[in-house]
Symmetry: D2
Subunit: 361 residues, 4 copies
């Protein structure tokens, strides 16, 4: 692979730049017989799409998905599912003034040096727009996991800049533009982000994702561990700089007597492990945290160089998210779903004879 | 793959349990013409091996590697490099009393449920012993990277429990049993770990790894990003619960104006990115941090269940590391080397025509 | 993968059914900087498309390709190349009468049992229509190979039924509807195929493909041999039942003194090997032969069963090729190109340091 | 991969040269719970090993396999199965005189150019000795397939040079050194091969392999077809120049009315397809034919060049098989078993929900 395919048995291969004709993908390995329509994909695409509040980019992408294959009479057939999303709001002129400069904190510089040429129209392939494809594919995975195992995958914003957001309940998450799990904290977030924007700045954030109802046994050690694949999938999202599982970096200061989750006949007493031991699911909820850096594109002067290597001062204007993590909530869910479905399929390949006898605690 | 192969072009396939006849691996895709001897692998194996100080397990594994193929007249031939390490200190009797119980915080429980049977001899395949194979393979990768690109990969202990360890210098790292980069802090660490051990407990830690001299351009977006593969590789190490790159989780509270590394004709001014933008190396040092949980095996009573599902109280005696992260320093280096060499080979496959023209800042 | 991706570094992932909205694919790993337009793909698509003579199916597919990504300002960018071909002539009604019966020699039966459902609209995913995607991707590979190494890949019809067609010259191949390398034999072929059609029957054929100007050294033993990947690629084409290289099945009756190609300072004296020794290219032309079975869809009564398992008599009417191999000539070229480009990229990954020193005889 | 791993879920990674310390491999993905001992592997290794009659090489390799991991208390654990076979009869001196010359028909020339160096000790990695590893791995696959599905995989010599060998019965196959399915033809084969050897020559041959009792549904279209993977696996065996399935190259002259296998409520009436339609198993026996070229190493003068590019005359003396195909019979079985088990595991991953409802005709 040259980096645009994810997965082993349930794979997503993705294509498309922010300012090309379309983005899209191919989901291969979806089991046959799943009820599926474009609407199933659209729901999550709409959660991610720009322009839904003043707190996210005002770009006006419709993000309308079209399924081209793999579904017949409303059911998946086992054949690859091809889908595209046309790009409709390509204001390439926005980018003409950055054509010859590298934006600090951006992939401009590395893409230009890796490939020897410059697609200066927005982020090109490195644009967050590409993640819409993941959301569409993740919606397929989520649907199958829910139907087949009752697995539920949900994410929320757990920190924005210095504002910590303790989990309150899932109901609140989809009722505010921040995916904040506590409606009471929304005014604080609005105020905080307004001040960031007023400073012509941006800020980082953290998203927490939870998968419930997993069976014991998903994960292919020693390299294809469930946690390793989660780390890989999350770190492949634009702007992500860190991933941890369960207590994660917090376990650095824990004692063994505190961290190791004790077992009883009724189940585990705690979940410091975040639902994974030895790279394999324990049956407890999977919990992962994902750190997003602040948006690199900010409308204030920054030191940079142009393509000739000369010093320049530059501002990135245009329509950018002040906090990229906000719209990333559905992406994080999608990535976790893509990892879990692939592991579930691999698990039943090798261990089908064991599965029926698997007790659950 | 069923989880025991890492990499695309430079691959490591690993086998072996802690109490079987041997562990070993096959490195496939090593370029021909590299000077290589068993001694090259042994150096790093000796850094990882047990029994080198009172602060690590007193198991007495010789960890003597034998290369079986792929090297002729002192040079790699391009053929796969098979190697084995015989297990010599298999005190299986140590484990007889835990044969029917699941150790809290261990992979016993998940392996037993996944595979439907129990290899109760120590960790079996989930044992940290398996990582010796990675260290051996990583030594090959490190040698090639150093020779070919001058890339240097080094790790150190940056935190143990509540003791933070700021980097002082590389010279100190290999002169103390903790891989601590500051000899002045060693007494503090000794005292700290002695007290942990006296409490019959264990503690977590953090390791920082740095790769210097990378060319611009390594990384295969959008999924095979350099950072994503680093996250995957690190999270696949036993006891790892978190990985971040550059400022990592610290970027959650950063502003865009602070995080985005500015460029000048002389190079980047800062390295918040940890040497990676858009999943591709910038040419700056790669910096990653890895969180290790405390050792699960501790000699104090813990609640658990036996294979019949009945409640038990258990202690794990035997010879266990009070802080698994210590001996993990060479493993972290090895994993980073394995990721970088694979990316370097893939990069020159696709972009060979671009590479000679790549300017370096 | 679930079977719809080909290749390791230069990959094609394909989607689409004969009677869905569109077919298409994603080419990942194409090196940046290659001049590429839709016209480059269209040329080969037009060579494969139906309705070009009375000897092939009269279906009226326009086979118009649209490139959606990966090309900017006329050059490949290194990003994945997504493309689609809309299906325009979907006469699904043709298929209503075969909805409940399995066509002898067809994949209806195996698909229905594998996936547990029936896409009765033509061949669905098993339709030869899917191969248009391969032809489009192969055109990209062919262009790069020609530009970069001067490698030329051409195929011709070398046998149709009992009519043997000795190679005369390449010029003739594209000047007749049979891809016959000797215009003098065209009337004989026309007469032969007319009589087959008059008998409401079909017939098998053999295609020979030649790649010239390969460097020595392509092929990744021991499993990823060049010949093994050629065999894989060819056998994956619809209706193919056999592949051989060089003297192929003819070598069964050869003596070692006859088969082994002798070397002289001026080069090899013969090419029984078909350009491959030990799975690696010798620098001589690669020569492979591919056997196609006769079209299964014929308009005469055949014994079969319906989906209830009851005996039926059925005819397949509709617009079918009397000899599927004819239009397969560009497909065979495409598959060989896809294999060679992938091997070429892998070769320079691992052996880049060796390549400049490779002498050529 | 760099060519030394086969398979997707059930993988074999192989290492070792003819004159190194050992050859061996790692089987990853074997389902847990299979009874397995070294003896299971040894049976097939002994069928392949040299020196069993005057008609094969007189090299004296013991081919004694040692399993190093993945089996505990007589059962596979789901962990990778590492195994080695020490090389015991390394008469490297035999090869000193060919150190600087390329043997016609051999991989010497291509390996030297690909890798830039020469392992002149016998075939090195290109030696047929490497296939012992495949036989060992194949024995594991065969055992699981037989136990789990009742699938039986058996091969026989179907042609040697000009001597055609119609199938008579399976009992005879293991009772003669040629794997000939008709003991009555053995004297003819002996006489024929004696005359070849008297002429200081060698000869090609054809092997036919049959797999019985496959379920309907194995094969992952469109690229991972069952027939494509069989072609790949067979063509990866040393000296193989052709593969066909069912009627294979014979279908070139067949009519559709003759080739297409008719169905009745009692099953298929014929098996021209060789058990595969659309790349998926039909439930009928899989039948494949494999063409082997004559041994390249013959003790008569052949024109060649040395490493300086100068003309030489050379003979290959030493202990070579006059017909390499003979000992290849167990290899062909092993390769088919490795393909089928991998497809079976993939099939139940994606289609587990369909499988229980699969009717069998």
């Amino acid at each position: 692979m040259s980096g645009n395919t994810l997965g082993t048995l349930f794979t997503l291969t993705s294509f498309g730049e922010s300012h090309g004709a379309a983005i899209g993908g191919i989901v291969d390995g979806c089991p046959p017989g799943l009820d599926l329509s474009e609407e199933d994909l659209q729901i999550d695409l709409d959660r991610r799409k720009p322009g839904t509040s003043k707190h996210v980019t005002q770009r006006n992408e419709e993000d309308k998905v079209e399924i081209l294959s793999g579904v017949f009479e409303g059911k998946t057939t086992g054949a690859p599912i091809g889908f595209i999303i046309r790009n409709t709001d390509q204001r390439s002129q926005d980018y003409s003034k950055i054509k010859d400069v590298f934006r600090p904190g951006h992939a401009d510089y590395t893409y230009a040096h890796k490939y020897g040429l410059r697609d200066y129209r927005g982020g090109g392939r490195s644009s967050a727009r590409e993640t819409a494809v993941r959301v569409a594919a993740g919606a397929i995975a989520k649907k199958w996991l829910l139907k087949k195992y009752g697995i539920k995958i949900r994410a929320y914003l757990s920190q924005m800049g210095t504002v910590n957001i303790p989990f309150k309940n899932w109901e609140d998450v989809n009722q505010n533009p921040f995916f904040c799990p506590n409606l009471d904290q929304v005014p604080e977030l609005e105020k905080y982000l307004d001040s960031i924007r007023a400073d012509r700045d941006s800020v980082g954030a953290k998203i927490t994702v939870v998968a419930e109802n997993l069976p014991v046994g998903l994960g292919e050690p020693v390299f294809g561990r469930l946690d390793a694949e989660i780390a890989y999938a999350m770190m492949s999202i634009n702007a992500v700089k860190g991933v941890d599982i369960g207590e994660g970096f917090g376990s650095v200061i824990q004692k063994g007597s505190e961290h190791g989750d004790e077992l009883t006949p009724q189940g585990f007493l705690t979940n410091n492990a975040g639902g994974i031991l030895g790279g394999i699911s324990t049956g407890q909820p999977i919990i992962a945290h994902v750190a997003f850096k602040p948006t690199s594109s900010i409308p204030q002067d920054r030191k940079s160089i142009n393509t000739k290597g000369e010093a320049v001062l530059m501002q990135t204007t245009g329509r950018h998210d002040p906090c990229v993590a906000i719209r990333a909530t559905p992406i994080v869910e999608a990535m976790l779903a893509l990892v879990i479905i692939d592991q579930a399929l691999r698990h039943r390949a090798q261990n089908a004879d064991v599965i029926p006898h698997t007790p659950k605690i």
